[in-house]
């Protein structure tokens, strides 16, 4: 063991006063904080202007709508962290909705099997994506676009026309609210953050995912499990999309192979991830930010409604919010010293 050197300070310049730890923790989560602030401001405005105010019902409806996108956005976050992209999240979401509307009903035992089948479907879809991207070496965008089409085909085969049913008790448990007025969907999100996201974030696999997104070559040179980490992100992505599909079934109480819905969730999930402060280049951000990002996007529509604006304004308003949040994240370009770096 080398004893810590008692030598004079090695730097030539006097070091500036040491920044306290929390500033670093804050800086690492800045995107998520900004999204939270934007959401809080928008939601307060929404609740104040809403004729019914902060009623349980208003909150619960908003929470359910937000949670749907939040789940798909969390799913999207994993591949994006490795500088990948999963354009099949929306289709996995739709497919698992169809699976749930077919299998999740009947005796408690059958419901349990059904739920497992739904989540298993998500995991399997994710594993296929991961295999194609990691070992097939296809570009994530086109690979997942293709598999997404595949998943949609399966959904259509399973449920050619809308219908099906879902266990009422489970639907209520997913979409209702607790005695204190806390929406169950928020509890579900919190549980996923605490029992899946945070452990993942602090696992070697999660660390490796950030490393791959930051610099694939350096990650390889440091001896990290690059392929395994990438594969895992797609599997997790499938899992979170499946949870989203389950929640969707709880809300609609039926299943539908709706291509429009899948497509819109695909794109909205990417937008939510970016608004939540995760870089599309990979390596920084996180799933908690994506939750807030999703809620920001979902609140825009509600806000226009209560402010009595024409819903036609929604795309324009959405665009402004997106540009604003993406602009915040590219401020670092102002510090670049070599013009070539801008084009890297």
């Amino acid at each position: 063991m080398i004893e810590p050197s008692a030598q004079p300070k090695a730097t030539t310049a006097p070091s500036p006063p040491r920044r306290p730890d929390w500033t670093y923790h804050f800086a690492a989560q800045r995107g998520a904080w900004i999204a939270l602030l934007i959401f809080a401001a928008m939601f307060t405005l929404f609740a104040c202007e809403h004729p019914a105010g902060f009623s349980h019902n208003v909150i619960n409806t908003a929470a359910n709508k937000g949670a749907l996108l939040a789940l798909v956005a969390m799913a999207q976050t994993f591949p994006v962290l490795t500088s990948g992209l999963d354009l099949s999240v929306g289709m996995v979401f739709v497919l698992t909705n169809c699976v749930a509307s077919t299998l999740v009903s009947g005796s408690p035992w059958r419901v349990a099997v059904g739920v497992s089948a739904v989540l298993g479907t998500g995991l399997a879809c994710g594993a296929l994506n991961g295999a194609v991207v990691v070992w097939g070496r296809l570009q994530p965008i086109i690979a997942t676009l293709a598999t997404g089409s595949l998943f949609y085909g399966a959904a259509l085969w399973l449920r050619p026309s809308p219908g099906g049913t879902v266990d009422d008790g489970l639907a209520e448990a997913l979409t209702g609210s607790l005695p204190g007025g806390i929406p169950c969907s928020i509890v579900l999100l919190a549980a996923l953050v605490f029992f899946v996201w945070l452990p993942y974030r602090h696992s070697v696999l999660g660390r490796a995912a950030y490393a791959v997104g930051s610099s694939r070559q350096a990650a390889f040179m440091s001896g990290l499990p690059v392929a395994r980490a990438q594969f895992a992100t797609y599997v997790l992505s499938g899992f979170f999309s499946a949870v989203g599909g389950l929640l969707l079934t709880g809300l609609t109480l039926s299943g539908e192979a709706n291509a429009m819905l899948g497509g819109s969730y695909n794109l909205s999930s990417v937008a939510a991830v970016v608004v939540g402060g995760t870089s599309l280049f990979g390596g920084s951000g996180g799933a908690v930010g994506s939750i807030f990002g999703a809620f920001v996007l979902r609140t825009i529509g509600d806000l226009l409604f209560v402010l009595d604006l024409d819903p036609l304004w929604q795309p324009l308003f959405l665009g402004v919010v997106l540009l604003f949040s993406v602009g915040l994240s590219s401020l670092r370009l102002l510090r670049i010293k070599n013009r070539l770096d801008i084009y890297r």
Binding site: I2, A10, H202, S203
Partner: protein, 509 residues
């Protein structure tokens, strides 16, 4: 008593037709610091990449403590206790310092990474190398290069190596940092660690090394105990190759006095330090020195690709602003033949014709439309001038050989009729025949009154091609050689910032 720890025998490695290592032999012992010396391209980096499991040798065997081992990937080497600090940093910019230091085997509790323990490890590692000014929670992206290098070294130490390889690991450090690192290395030596040390700084090697090995052209030349040979002998061992005359004769016309390019006190970040020189029309000036002493940055700065450059640059007596390649081209007729032709010089999937006309496309059109006939004429002219061998001008440029691709890059800039031509190692990785054509072309351009600044990592090229050679060391101009003083001995000596030969005293101009 020290023990043989690592041995490689008969190791060869080729890249395409280029021989990087040929039947190489290397061994190192525990408790000793072993310096590996050689010119640019002598095979040192390939050697240690083989040791670190980054490159797989074509043939040959490796032994660790007497048992044969196979190193297929970096993780294998890490498991064997071989840890390297590379020239190109292997840090992850988005992760924190602590994350990076503990990256390979983070401390775990209940299966999850224990960030408090990890932080302790990082702080301890940073303290060992005396870099207590670095905050363990800071993202590596935010640190300046010298601090990143300290983190890189701390990361290597935290892995508790049996064999520690440092490849130019101190190139960005201040002397105080270097001293702190040396103290640690000496302590590690005392504990029986084998240290392989590659540096272009001879003084560091004098201070540190127990053994030295010299490589040249991918071959092992000699291994000897440090201090048994003097600097002069070592330099001769590093050179030792004949220079074939593939170069066109120099122009004998007297040069004009008015400079085509005048650079005064150019500085940029930590990479360029107060560089001043002039180039006259018709002159070919070489830029020499060891790899990465600021030569690339100097060319990029003159081309306007860097932000925050200070100093003055005048072209043909008029000051120019360094605002970007477009500006530099328009204002002063400056062209840069970039280092990495595939990334910075060519649009590989596009046709030869398109690639040749890109830089001059503004001049070939009227009212914003490209005049196709004028374009064809100009392109044909350049293709003939450079004798670019191409079956069809509409073929994608990616299908051409390396030499012909490089001609396309040069041709692209000739279309703009540049007055000042900057070249960044233009003959790297291309065949001898094309090299000769390029040398002749440079001479012809110079005779047509262009001013040429040529950076080359090949000393023979500097000697054969240039009227004058400027040597950079650590971002500063340390020498200017002219006429008969341009020889390998002087270049190598100045490149290492050594004064072993004063027969041709030179002063930076």
């Amino acid at each position: 008593m020290s023990a043989l720890l690592f041995r490689m025998e008969g190791v060869s490695k080729h890249f395409g037709g280029v021989r990087a290592l040929e039947n190489a032999h290397f061994e190192c012992e525990g408790g000793r610091i072993h310096a590996v010396l050689g010119e640019n391209g002598a095979g040192k980096s390939t050697l240690i990449k083989v040791m670190a499991g980054v490159l797989k040798p074509d043939s040959g065997s490796l032994e660790l403590a007497g048992t044969p081992i196979v190193l297929d990937r970096p993780a294998d080497a890490a498991r064997a206790g071989i840890v390297s600090v590379f020239q190109e940093l292997s840090l992850l910019p988005d992760l924190t310092v602590a994350d990076n230091i503990a990256l390979a085997s983070p401390p775990r509790r209940f299966g999850l990474i224990d960030s408090r323990q990890q932080r302790r490890i990082a702080e301890e590692a940073l303290e060992r190398v005396g870099a207590t000014d670095i905050h363990p929670l800071s993202p590596v992206r935010d640190l300046p290069l010298s601090r990143r290098q300290m983190v890189e070294i701390a990361k290597a130490l935290a892995r508790d190596p049996r064999i520690l390889i440092l490849d130019e690991a101190t190139s960005a450090l201040s002397s105080a940092d270097v001293a702190a690192v040396f103290r640690v290395l000496k302590k590690l030596r005392g504990r029986g660690v084998a240290i392989v040390y590659i540096s272009h700084r001879m003084r560091e090697i004098d201070e540190l090394a127990d053994d030295c090995t010299v490589y040249r052209n991918g071959r092992h030349v000699a291994t000897f105990a440090a201090a048994t040979k003097n600097a002069k002998e070592i330099v001769e061992m590093m050179i030792g190759r004949e220079v074939k005359s593939v170069f066109p004769p120099r122009s004998t016309r007297p040069l004009e006095e008015k400079p085509a390019l005048q650079v005064k006190h150019l500085s940029w970040a930590n990479h360029l330090k107060d560089v001043s020189f002039t180039i006259r029309p018709g002159e070919v000036v070489g830029l020499g020195g060891l790899d990465g002493q600021g030569q690339r940055e100097l060319l990029l700065a003159l081309f306007g690709a860097l932000i925050g450059v200070t100093g003055e640059v005048e072209a043909n007596g008029k000051p120019i602003s360094l605002k970007g390649p477009r500006k530099s081209g328009e204002q002063a007729g400056i062209a840069l033949i970039p280092e990495d032709r595939k990334a910075e010089g060519l649009m590989l999937p596009m046709s030869v014709r398109d690639n040749v006309s890109f830089a001059a496309i503004d001049r070939l059109g009227r009212f914003g439309l490209v005049d196709r006939r004028a374009e064809d004429r100009a392109v044909d002219e350049v293709v003939r001038l450079l004798s670019i061998k191409v079956p069809n001008l509409d073929a994608p440029v990616g299908a051409l050989s390396g030499g012909n691709q490089q001609k396309v890059v040069i041709g692209k800039w000739l279309m703009t009729q540049p007055r000042i031509i900057l070249l960044n190692d233009p003959t790297r990785g291309i065949d001898v025949g094309t090299k000769q054509e390029i040398y002749q072309l440079l001479r012809n351009l110079a005779d047509a009154r262009a001013a040429i600044l040529l950076y080359s990592t090949d000393y023979a090229e500097l000697i054969g091609c240039c009227d004058r050679v400027l040597i950079l060391y650590d971002g500063a101009l340390v020498g200017s050689l002219e006429g008969g003083a341009i020889n390998e001995r002087n270049i190598v000596a100045r490149a290492h910032n050594l004064a072993i030969d004063t027969s041709a005293p030179t002063v930076p101009r």
